[in-house]
């Protein structure tokens, strides 16, 4: 009998904002939010809310981990539908009037023969073309509505997440994996930059905007802060939360406040220059149950969806790939596994209530086949806002890392529950391609 602390709500409820990834204040005072959806890959949508938090418009048809929604001059909304590798423009009555899948005679190809790969951001430029941050192609491109590439910056970037145009015609690019912000002119020369590569200066910056005073406001994601720097690179001001909350996008309002998409805390905040939160939107309800203890760790029970009962296939970061598989030869009963075939990461996971300060022992058997990346058991800890306590996946406690092909191996490791943790997420994790199987998982306080 499963003992559940929080049952979790239905997945994909329209208007339930699970993971705000971009935000902007519209001229009418409403706020447009791109919601990446939940960990299982449901609920991604673009939501427009009024200042009281009422949902006045949304679009959620077929979106997968959409990272941005931008209102165009014509009143339509431009959406980067990230996991679907496409860019769409939808009307207020939710008709798609442009879809990058139709470019290149329906192949989705751009005029240079490439395909958008995990686009994260797109803005409309003055001339009606789009500036697209094409993350997994490591580039920023200007395209027209027919997919003609007009301009491209393809050098030196590693997983950029945001590029926007400045009044002087230059572009401000967040070169996230290189921990820096670049200002590029149309001749593709670097005019200005900030970030020395160290994570103390900038850690995975996901957006930057030029302010009217000439300074630059950078969303320094893993340092859970926004930071204002002068053209000379001098630190001017910052807003930082006490605890880890990965900020994705910052938008400057006409009133001189800043709207921040807070992916960790599942909310959008508006802060003033004194660091006051002057407005906040959060309507998050957890879709995932929290169990009192690890449940069905031996995978004897199988759900109607052919997933192990009480376990969640987390495919938000899987870039569209991956599935649950079963080893039917395993005795005395079949055991589950994950098959994955691309960059990104796929998890089979369960949330378990924990007490800070206690130590848990976690163990199980793992088998891998041709894993090109890593497979392992891993634990993420979350606070009462449902935000991970870790700034980076590599800081999370884990068992042994398995690469290549390995027969059944017993793995066992201890983790201490950090302060402020309310629940643990125990994961079987795989990144890159291969298969991993798991059986006999246990997790207990010691």
């Amino acid at each position: 009998m499963a003992e559940i602390i929080s049952p979790g709500c239905q997945r994909g409820i329209p208007g339930n904002v699970e993971m705000p990834l971009s935000v902007e204040r519209l001229p009418n005072g409403n706020t447009l939010i791109a919601d990446g959806g939940d960990e299982a890959g449901f609920g991604s949508e673009i939501v427009e809310i009024d200042h009281l938090g009422n949902i006045v418009w949304n679009y959620n048809e077929g979106l997968r981990f959409a990272h941005s929604g931008r209102r165009l001059k014509n009143g339509n909304t431009l959406i980067t539908d990230t996991t679907n590798n496409r860019l769409i423009e939808v009307t207020p009555d939710k008709k798609i009037v442009m879809n990058s899948d139709e470019w290149g005679s329906g192949t989705g190809k751009l005029s240079d023969g490439s395909h958008l790969h995990y686009p994260n951001e797109a803005f409309e430029l003055e001339d009606g073309t789009f500036l697209v941050t094409d993350r997994n192609n490591d580039r920023c491109i200007q395209v027209d509505r027919n997919g003609k590439v007009i301009w491209a910056f393809e050098r030196e970037l590693k997983h950029p997440h945001n590029a926007n145009a400045l009044p002087n015609g230059n572009f401000l690019i967040s070169d996230s994996d290189r921990n820096r912000i670049l200002e590029i002119n149309r001749e593709k020369e670097i005019i200005w930059s900030y970030g020395d590569g160290s994570i103390e200066t900038l850690w995975w910056p996901r957006s930057a905007i030029r302010l009217k005073n000439g300074n630059t406001m950078i969303t320094d994601s893993r340092n859970h802060r926004i930071i204002e720097v002068s053209p000379e690179g001098k630190f001017i001001w910052m807003f930082q939360t006490e605890y880890v909350d990965k900020f994705y996008i910052t938008h400057a309002t006409k009133e001189g406040t800043f709207l921040i998409a807070c992916s960790g805390y599942h909310q959008v905040v508006e802060v003033d220059l004194a660091g006051n939160i002057v407005w906040l939107f959060r309507n998050y309800r957890r879709p995932t149950p929290i169990y009192t203890r690890l449940t069905n760790g031996f995978f004897k029970e199988v759900g109607a969806d052919r997933y192990p009962l009480h376990w969640v296939l987390a495919r938000r970061l899987s870039e569209g790939g991956g599935k649950v598989i079963w080893d039917n030869e395993n005795k005395p009963y079949p055991c589950p596994g994950l098959e994955f075939d691309r960059p990104g990461a796929l998890f089979l996971q369960q949330d378990i209530a924990v007490k800070p300060g206690s130590t848990y022992r976690i163990g199980g058997d793992i088998k891998t086949i041709d894993v090109k990346g890593e497979a392992c058991l891993m634990v993420d800890f979350f606070d009462s806002y449902g935000a991970s306590l870790y700034r980076d996946i590599s800081l999370m406690p884990s068992g042994e890392f398995f690469t290549g092909t390995n027969g059944w191996t017993h793995d066992i490791f201890d983790v201490r529950v950090p302060p402020r943790a309310t629940y643990a997420e125990l994961r079987l994790s795989i990144n890159n391609s291969g298969k991993v199987f798991v059986r006999n998982i246990m997790m207990n306080p010691i």
């Binding site: 997983h159 996230s176 994996d177 995975w204 990965k246 203890r293 690890l294 760790g297 031996f298 004897k300 970061l317 005395p332 960059p343 990104g344 990461a345 300060g357 130590t359 022992r361 163990g363 199980g364 990346g373 890593e374 991970s388 870790y390 980076d392 996946i393 590599s394 406690p397 884990s398 042994e400 890392f401 690469t403 017993h410 066992i412 490791f413 201890d414 983790v415 201490r416 950090p418 990144n431 006999n440 246990m442 997790m443 207990n444 010691i446």
Partner: protein, 281 residues
């Protein structure tokens, strides 16, 4: 090669300071609990050995006998450790209880890797398996596996506490031995629960690094198990403990830049770096 290094006077004073911190923890424990409410865990290894030596110093100072001491018999012991423990028990007059889960050993016919059938176990052990979420019908008898560890160590430990009404138990853990230990406190109260007696864990040598520990052994001529001379750095069950560097005594190895628990995840840092580069989360 015996541990006969010369330790400088300065280093000896540093080690003495570390011992003093530990002794203070031990004294606090004796103030908090009656001597008969205290217990000591001993494995014959270097960490619990140093802990025992320090507790013994405090007991001599207070002129009281050593608290009850437990050693766990997992069924996979090094003969060298058994001999060392036997010798020290006599020399130091240790009130030692050898604790074993006889029921599991019997079900395994005292053979390593033998399959143990859950239905052959007694009620307590079966209940313990339910408690940890073990849902199988059988398991191989290995002391270092999840189930083996629980039945052969945790259960035996809890039973020792129950049997002797122990309220505070000394453990020889150190912060630097494992990342999961980084935040361990000197005194940790453990709430009681089903099959788990309420108790406080007392860890007097948390602050010793591996190097501090060996320098202290050398400076104060503390006896140790000779296996460390052969290159073992960490001693557990016989069949799963590995020599880190063959023929190089533990204290002569590169203690600060290599893993104490040899053979465990040597490529973890590299793998972490690769995952970090994927840029997720």
């Amino acid at each position: 090669m015996a541990l006969d290094r010369i330790i400088s006077e300065k280093r000896k004073r540093q080690c003495a300071k570390l011992i003093e911190i530990s002794k203070d923890i031990v004294r606090q424990a004796f103030n908090k609990f009656k001597p008969e409410e205290l217990g000591i865990t001993w494995t014959g290894g270097k960490d619990s050995g140093l802990t025992l030596w320090i507790i013994r110093q405090v007991c001599q100072e207070k002129n009281i006998p050593l608290p009850k001491t437990m050693i766990i018999g997992e069924g996979d012991e090094f003969e060298e450790i058994e001999a060392f423990v036997e010798r020290m028990k006599k020399e130091w007059n240790v009130p030692l209880e050898v604790c074993r889960n006889e029921d599991v050993l019997k079900a395994a016919d005292y053979r390593l890797n033998a399959l143990v059938r859950v239905k052959d176990l007694n009620e307590r052990n079966r209940e313990e398996l339910i408690r940890i979420g073990f849902e199988g019908d059988e398991f191989p008898f290995e002391a270092e596996s999840y189930v083996g560890n629980h039945l052969m160590k945790t259960v035996v430990f809890n039973q020792f506490l129950e049997r002797n009404r122990i309220k505070g138990i000394f453990q020889g853990l150190r912060w630097d031995e494992h990342p999961a230990r980084f935040d361990d406190p000197y005194f940790e109260f453990k709430e009681g629960g089903h099959l788990m007696p309420e108790h406080t864990r007392i860890r007097p040598i948390l602050h010793f690094t591996e190097k501090d520990l060996w320098d202290t052994y050398a400076a104060f001529k503390i006896p140790y198990c000779p296996l460390y001379e052969q290159g073992y750095r960490s001693l557990g069950a016989k069949t799963t403990s590995l020599i880190s560097v063959e023929g190089v005594p533990a204290w002569k190895q590169d203690l600060e830049n290599t893993e104490e628990r040899a053979g465990r995840r040597p490529d973890k840092e590299k793998a972490m770096e690769r995952m970090r580069q994927l840029g997720y989360m």
